[in-house]
């Protein structure tokens, strides 16, 4: 395996965790939206699903990926993200029992689709020894903004999609991820998504808990 961090040092790797079948479409929307927004800003992007996870099993933890780079992306043949800048959990219980922090880059941002407060989710971080790599934990109650498209069997192989990109929960999650990580601009994300209201609400209502040396709010930033 080549090291994408050496080939593409400035590439932002976004890994979206989700549940097989029931929420797979929403995670694919998050990855697709962030990549489409990045492309409209003139950056080079890729977005794709992970098939190693066998995502056709209902409820299984699986991943979708996006890559955004200011230079042409040289990482062609790696079909999994290994060095995450942004980790999105499209469903809150994924925070428990999955090793989503494995391979995280320093200063990575974790975004969770949850109505709970970020502080309440801290105890489940996996693996806990990777916590010093986290710059911020953000929570967004996307289920309350983006209801509608949660279960679809359309376009699961990527050939076509009748349900539009970013019509459901994924739009609000993408808005929250964009604000918490700064990987794309709000305007380009709004242009890409079908449900623009959900993107805006995700952007506005995300609750971000900053970290310092693995502890929340440990050091004040000089103003």
């Amino acid at each position: 395996m080549t090291l994408s961090v050496e080939v593409d040092p400035n590439m932002v790797e976004i890994t979206v965790w989700t549940r097989g079948v029931t929420l797979a479409k929403e995670a694919r929307d998050v990855a697709t939206l962030l990549a489409a927004a990045g492309a409209s800003e003139g950056k080079y992007t890729q977005s794709f699903d992970n098939y190693v996870d066998l995502p056709d099993r209902i409820g299984v933890a699986c991943k979708s990926y996006a890559r955004i780079s200011p230079e042409p992306i040289q990482t062609f043949y790696e079909y999994e993200n290994g060095h995450h800048d942004v980790i999105v959990l499209a469903e809150e219980t994924l925070i428990k029992g999955q090793r989503y922090l494995d391979g995280a880059k320093p200063e990575c941002v974790v975004v969770v689709n949850s109505a709970r407060e970020p502080e309440a989710l801290l105890r489940w971080f996996e693996p806990a020894e990777s916590l010093p790599l986290v710059k911020a934990l953000a929570c967004i109650d996307a289920n309350s903004f983006g209801a509608g498209v949660t279960l679809t069997f359309d376009g699961t192989e990527g050939a076509s999609d009748d349900t539009k990109i970013g019509a459901g929960v994924g739009a609000a999650v993408a808005g929250a991820a964009a604000k918490a990580s700064g990987c794309v601009k709000l305007e380009s994300l709004l242009a890409a998504a079908d449900n623009k209201k959900a993107v805006q609400e995700g952007w506005d209502q995300v609750r971000v808990l900053p970290f310092c040396d693995g502890k929340p709010n440990a050091c004040e930033t000089p103003s």
Binding site: G20, E92, Q98, R116, W124
Partner: protein, 96 residues
């Protein structure tokens, strides 16, 4: 003389595992956890019968319980319970 092989059972059917399959742990697929109200439970064992992953455990003394290492939280047990003794509780309401 033809080479002889160990006898393969009919249609290559092998004994089924009688204990857990450690190579296929599915407990972390779960987003809701079944919780049984022992006062309401009549031990009809419908959940035990219909659980697709054999994750419902029945014991005459203890009654119904769940093997959470394999329970995927599919909700069939709570759906089929005739006395509504099983609830689906969000997984993050539990620390473990």
């Amino acid at each position: 003389m033809a080479k002889s092989y160990p006898e393969v059972p009919f249609a290559a059917i092998v004994p089924c595992p009688t204990v857990e399959n450690d190579k296929m742990v599915t407990g972390n697929w779960r987003s809701v956890r079944p919780v049984v109200d022992m006062e309401a439970c009549t031990s009809c064992k419908l959940c035990w019968l219909l659980c697709p992953d054999a994750s419902v455990v029945y014991d005459e003394a203890e009654g119904i319980s769940f093997n959470l290492k394999y329970c995927k939280g599919c909700g069939i047990c709570s759906s089929v319970c005739p006395v509504d003794a099983i609830r689906d509780v969000p997984e993050l309401d539990f620390i473990d």
